[in-house]
Symmetry: C2
DNA sequence: ACGCTTAGCGACCCATGATTGAATAACTTG
DNA sequence: CAAGTTATTCAATCATGGGTCGCTAAGCGT
């Protein structure tokens, strides 16, 4: 995170506004679906008019793209950070899953998957695939490592297991509501534990 | 399945057409997303004009509703049937998951979840919730039964476990492509086995 | 063959929402 | 302060797509 000291320059001010637009759009896109959010709505949320947005984004699709990139970057960053902690592979994978869930349950990240479809339709589907693969391989690699360091069962099929694990954690993003009774952090912990339980090595 | 013998009556003919419309629409809605499918496209697929569709459905939302109901009925029927087979609870739950996956990977069922959002927005959200709950409870009940008949571990948290299991199987519907290399039936079997592995009782 | 009903077609109507451009307010710089 | 630059707004423009209406033609019972 880059902190600002002193007054923001014009450039910074501009970039702050742009990011605020993206954050707000991501939230709405996630809540209501890309196609159901008129630019008007985003503009109103921010207290400006629709036309003003065009100073910062070149089109609605461009805005979608930016939402996706920002979101996915956050996700990947969270996962990478958790991956590089210390401990057994199992402990690290658990940390990765928790970080993943924590990120996905933030209000402007919810339903991130829900706008992968428009992304694939209007944008570059290789970007989507690349990011999805990156997450998939992070999980697989840790599973393989864990079979070596004996924190996981030795007989896992990493490809299959990563599908099941990712399914479980992504599903959280579908039903979780930030205004619900569950706290995100303890939920993340429970789900992560649950999803990995069957793979742990038990002597 | 009800078979027809002899010539279809006018009523039957009409109903066949209506169902064909729904099937076709479900496929397109799933592939491209409800909001991205003009009625014109569905009409073209069927070789008629948009206006003709209005003989069979009262609005685009009505069509969505019918798609959802038909799809969910199929899903629930498949699950109920599998639930009532014989064997241990673990075996039955495995059968349920397989049936679930098999159903969800059919081409006009793919991305069924992808139009729950429009359903919730334009339709009756209680219907959606009710069906989701039904599936959830089917899984939970079998888990509980399995703890009793010792086909599952005795220390499962059924609520949490059902989330993980449903996540895993629903995720299949997101990435599976009918034209891909995997056969749906063996995939269903593998995923079902994988998702349950950690819960099985191992003496 | 004659009217009646129904399916389907083509041409419309109309609201929505993305995008643009001219006009204006605000701010910077010399 | 005046000229120039930037941020916003307001008022079009334009395409899309849901929904409607009147017409034709085929099917059917009498």
């Amino acid at each position: 995170m880059k902190e600002l000291t002193g007054f923001p320059t014009k450039e910074q001010l501009r970039d702050m506004k742009r990011r605020e637009i993206v954050r707000c759009a991501a939230k709405r896109f996630g809540q209501d679906g890309f196609e159901n959010v008129p630019l008007e709505a985003i503009a109103t949320d921010l207290g400006v008019t629709k036309a003003a947005l065009y100073n910062y984004v070149s089109s609605k699709n461009d805005l979608l793209l930016q939402c996706y990139e920002v979101g996915m970057d956050r996700l990947v960053a969270a996962v990478e950070a958790a991956k590089d902690t210390s401990g057994t592979a199992a402990q690290r994978l658990s940390a990765v899953l928790e970080a993943y869930i924590m990120t996905m349950t933030q209000s402007d990240m919810q339903y991130l998957w829900s706008y992968t479809r428009p992304m694939v339709m209007y944008g570059d589907k290789r970007v989507v695939q690349a990011i999805r693969d990156k997450l998939d391989y992070a999980v697989r690699d840790l599973l393989i490592e864990g079979m070596k360091d004996q924190s996981f069962r030795p007989d896992i099929d990493p490809k299959l297991a990563s599908l099941v694990i990712l399914g479980a954690v992504n599903w959280v993003g579908i039903w979780y509501r930030p205004d619900g009774p569950k706290r995100a952090d303890e939920l993340a912990q429970k789900i992560a534990r649950e999803a990995l339980y069957g793979y742990l090595f038990k002597p």
